[in-house]
């Protein structure tokens, strides 16, 4: 095959693949709405083109298949047949066969040895018009090739024949000329019928011409109608003319070059800052601007709408649903959301898997749905949108949802978690168990309903590109899988910090804010709770992580007493923490280079990059760092799997508690997660509302619940409530808690500590408002039952005395 020919074949393949993808979509669409003439014509055109081209290129077998398919489509288009699921399936099979042949051709330029007679026979059988007087035996190529005559004889000079009208590819698409004439010029149905009848009998002329000849329409009307049709078609046509195909390899090369240019730009900018030459400065600024724009432009060329991969899902859903006897409707939101090409490719398989899973396992059989009071037809919703520099893709179904208990049970059976772990895990953690490798195979073998087949692969693939997967589910109402992925992998904005003389890059995505504590504020600002440093950021406790200590670099990790401290406030998963670094340099666009296999085990780094001075800097993986430093305590699925094999009692099971002194100097604790803020109010700010202590806090009235009062015996309680605060007492320590949308302040005697502990030695509580006693930090500590305490404060409202009014006022 000559060079020229192979080029033609290549073009043909690329175009055909694209068209076939569209065919899948359109056929599935047609099944739902068989009256969609646009779609039908488009399907017809595609098959016609393929048939024509492969005839020209000498692919006989391909031509034969396309030919029978085209015949069948002709019947459909001419409304001699209506689309049945059987026909759709046959046509989809044909699409698959054509695709296989194209793949074969792509591989070795030959169609290969294959026998498609069954498919051809099926397609031929299906074109028999039911109840038609005599099924025509020889099926002719049915394309009504439009004659090359002038369009309307009676009005020769007015309109140039629109090119598309002559093109056999553009079989009149809806609205067809007859409809337009009927609507616009009042041409009767009967007249059009008559004219189409003539056409069918072999009249080679066009509808308009026949109508004019019949006297049913005026030439001017026909011309107008054609114009309308033309403009409709133009607006429906894809914007093919304004785009060109570019080889991906070339794009990648350009992208790499732009990456290098960004590096060179950074170098020049650094250099420029040291120069006094203003014209050089101006030039480097200009270089800076252009590089940024060029980079944005190149990145954009690599961006593709996520709809490109979603477009296959209707077909996937149809096939899976048909296979398991379900009815599923697929909805898509945010198809136009763009992602980098490499990412699009990387998430294609995981998404397909999730979609299949939703249909296969999530959505129930129609009868079960009806029984559950749902619509027979299940809904599968795909959503994509931008959020904080990331793209979120959600796959939701309104199916049966995940059964927490069953997953818990299964995971225990499979020895993925211990019974004790199972008891302590949150619902969300349980859901995430289905991403464990062992879990999936178990599901496959036992075939118990619920998800999990290959979910670990989904998670691994998404994490490979720096994304995360999360699952939410409500039993009986459905499941949502949330995939979070970075916009692009190549060039990211990052904050450069210095630690022990080396520079590290922190992706801007995780960055919340920067805090600098002057030397004199350090001792006051950074507090130590049981050795763990924290910083109060606007009343919230921010755990601090010293980068040099985590990286086991020189020094003991604590800054010298007299130096300022730089805190980089970061977000990892849902948790915030402060990273203490020696120096905060600058933000810079960095080119991400992945780490080699030798360093893959170091989870704390996401990659490396070359800085302006040519040195290499490591990019911190904020989530990995948080896990390493123990900030993110929520056990991640992988951690659990690792832990089971590792020694028992691993540290990652710890929870964080706030310890404080209760009445009588008893040690009490609440989980840190229930705490919103810690506050200290001078007694003068405490006001009495009836007998309830309240204070004004952030523009609201905060009811203050005194722990010593709550824990008093009931008969003493009312008396204790009445006591107003004495003005000369020290400021009160308040734990601000949020409960069911309201804020409450819990007044405690003294805040002791924040500790991390497993807290698994527990005993029953011996008084109300206490959940149980646990051993935290080797001492018996009472864990408060927050909801009960708050409920207690609220139920007093019902008491028919002065107390009730006070609480009411407080609320």
């Amino acid at each position: 095959m000559s060079e020229n020919d192979s080029d033609i074949v290549k073009d043909f393949l690329i175009e055909s693949y694209e068209n076939l993808d569209r065919l899948d979509r359109e056929l599935v669409g047609l099944e739902k709405d068989p009256e969609d003439r646009d779609a039908l014509s488009s399907v017809f055109r595609t098959i016609h083109t393929i048939k024509g081209t492969c005839g020209f290129l000498g692919f006989g077998k391909l031509e034969a298949v396309a030919h029978v398919g085209e015949n069948l489509l002709t019947r459909l288009r001419d409304r001699q047949l209506t689309l049945t699921p059987e026909i759709t399936t046959a046509l989809l099979t044909m699409v698959d066969v054509i695709r296989q042949m194209l793949t074969q051709i792509e591989k070795d330029g030959q169609e290969g040895e294959r026998d498609d007679s069954v498919l051809i026979a099926t397609l031929t059988r299906l074109q028999q018009v039911p109840a038609a007087p005599a099924p025509e035996a020889p099926v002719l190529a049915p394309v009504p090739v439009l004659p090359q005559t002038d369009i309307v004889k009676a009005a020769p000079a007015i309109v140039p024949v629109p090119d598309a009208e002559r093109d056999p590819e553009s079989i009149p698409s809806a609205p067809n000329i007859g409809d337009i004439l009927k609507e616009r010029a009042g041409v009767t149905e009967a007249a059009i019928e008559l004219a189409t009848e003539k056409q069918r009998e072999g009249d080679p002329r066009r509808l308009g011409e026949i109508l004019v000849e019949q006297g049913s329409a005026r030439p001017a009307d026909v011309v107008d109608a054609l114009r309308i049709q033309q403009s409709n078609r133009a607006s429906a046509a894809p914007a093919a003319d304004s785009t060109i195909r570019v080889d991906v390899g070339l794009l990648d090369k350009v992208m790499n070059l732009v990456g290098e240019l960004v590096l060179a730009r950074n170098q020049v900018l650094q250099f420029a800052n040291r120069m006094k030459d203003t014209s050089f400065l101006a030039a480097s600024q200009r270089l800076n601007l252009i590089t940024t724009e060029l980079q944005a432009g190149v990145m954009k060329t690599r961006m593709q709408p996520i709809g490109n991969i979603w477009s296959q899902f209707p077909r996937t859903v149809r096939d899976v649903a048909l296979g398991c006897g379900k009815e599923v409707k697929i909805e898509m939101e945010g198809k136009e959301t763009e992602l980098d090409k490499t990412i699009i490719e990387a998430i294609k398989d995981p998404l397909t898997h999730l979609v299949r899973n939703s249909v296969d396992h999530g959505i129930e059989l129609p009868n079960a749905r009806v029984k559950a009071g749902k619509d027979r037809i299940g809904r599968l919703i795909l959503r994509a949108f931008h959020e904080g520099g990331q793209v979120i893709i959600e796959i939701s179904d309104d199916g049966a949802g995940l059964n927490v208990e069953r997953i818990r049970q299964k995971a225990q059976e499979r020895n993925l978690i211990t019974a004790e772990q199972a008891g302590r895990m949150s619902e969300r953690e349980i859901f995430n168990l289905i991403f464990l490798p062992g879990f999936s195979t178990a599901e496959k073998v036992t075939n118990v309903s619920g998800r999990g087949v290959g979910m670990d692969v989904v998670k691994t693939n998404v994490e490979k590109i720096g994304g995360t997967v999360d699952i939410q589910s409500a039993l009986g109402r459905g499941t949502t899988v949330r995939v979070k992925i970075p916009l692009t992998l190549a060039i990211i904005p990052a904050l450069i910090v210095t630690c022990s003389g080396d520079r590290y890059a922190i992706p801007q995505v995780s960055l919340l804010e920067l805090v600098r504590l002057g030397a004199e504020d350090v001792s006051k600002g950074i507090e130590l709770v049981h050795g763990a440093p924290i910083y109060r950021l606007r009343g919230r406790l921010l755990p601090l992580v010293y980068l040099n200590r985590e990286l086991k670099l020189t020094g003991d990790g604590r800054p010298a007493k007299d130096s300022a401290v730089n805190i980089v406030v970061l977000q990892a998963d849902e948790r915030q923490f402060g990273l203490v670094v020696d120096q905060i340099n600058d933000t810079e666009e960095i080119v991400v280079k992945p780490l080699r296999k030798q360093l893959k085990t170091v989870k704390i780094f996401a990659g490396s990059s070359i800085m302006g001075d040519g040195r290499v800097a490591l990019i911190l993986d904020v989530l990995g760092l948080a896990q390493y430093a123990g900030v993110v305590t929520e056990t991640r699925a992988h951690a659990i799997a690792d832990k089971v094999t590792a020694s028992a009692g691993a540290a990652s099971d710890k929870r964080t508690f706030l310890l404080f002194a209760g009445p009588g100097d008893s040690r009490m604790a609440i989980p840190l997660s229930t705490l919103a803020r810690l506050e200290e109010f001078p007694v003068a700010q405490v006001e009495m509302s009836g007998s309830q202590w309240v204070t004004q806090y952030r523009g609201k009235i905060l009811p203050l619940i005194r722990l010593n009062v709550v824990l008093e015996e009931r008969r003493n309680r009312l008396r204790a409530l009445q006591v107003p605060p004495t003005l000369d007492s020290p400021p009160i320590q308040v734990l601000v808690l949020n409960h069911e949308g309201h804020s409450y302040g819990l007044v405690v005697d003294r805040i002791l500590d924040i500790v991390e502990d497993v807290a698994d030695v527990r005993s029953e509580a011996n008084r109300a408002s206490v959940l149980y006693s646990v051993v935290i930090g080797n001492r018996v500590t009472e864990l408060l039952d927050i909801p009960a305490i708050l409920r207690g404060a609220v139920t007093t409202k019902a008491l028919p005395n002065a107390v009730s009014q006070s609480v009411e006022a407080a609320n």
Binding site: L551, K593, R596, Q598, T601, I610, G614, V616, L618
Partner: protein, 152 residues
């Protein structure tokens, strides 16, 4: 005519080593290196090789030899491995030698441990022995990584 092959030789703690010349990308002087905290000890750091980031492996540690004396500037032998380029840090560069198959002998049975897997054998040169290093094995380091993970 006997089969010959070319080796790029270098010295580590006065021992002569050789890697097959066709696996060597280039030999360069010591470059500025960025250390990687928490990485296995055999990884010395990352170097910028004309815009390409290359991992530098401390070959002395890898082969369980004495650590290099402080202040010594190591040379980089950049080799092509399955996982891209890797720089092997060596004491000194030797000549390119051409040896015949016949001078090759497998390592003695008494050579044990992880080192054995990296040393294919020795070529008996006129004045000394040249240890033949398996590039892939030396760069793979899965055993070294596991060891590092276990001690953590």
């Amino acid at each position: 005519m006997a089969q010959t092959s070319q080796f790029c030789t270098f010295y580590l703690d006065k021992l002569l080593f050789g890697v097959e010349l066709k696996g060597v990308q280039e030999v360069i002087r010591s470059l500025e290196m960025t250390k990687v905290p928490l990485a296995p000890q055999v990884v010395s750091g990352l170097i910028n090789l004309r815009g390409q980031i290359v991992t530098a492996v401390d070959l002395r540690r890898r082969l369980e030899l004495e650590p290099s004396p402080p202040g010594m500037l190591a040379m980089n032998v950049v080799v092509r491995s399955e996982d891209g380029s890797v720089s092997l840090l060596v004491d000194e560069i030797g000549d390119v030698v051409e040896v015949e198959e016949s001078t090759f002998e497998p390592p003695p049975e008494t050579l044990r441990g992880s080192v054995r897997s990296m040393i294919l054998g020795v070529h008996k040169l006129n004045d000394r022995l040249m240890h033949v290093l398996d590039i892939e094995k030396a760069c793979q380091m899965s055993d070294a990584l596991e060891a590092a993970a276990a001690t953590r």
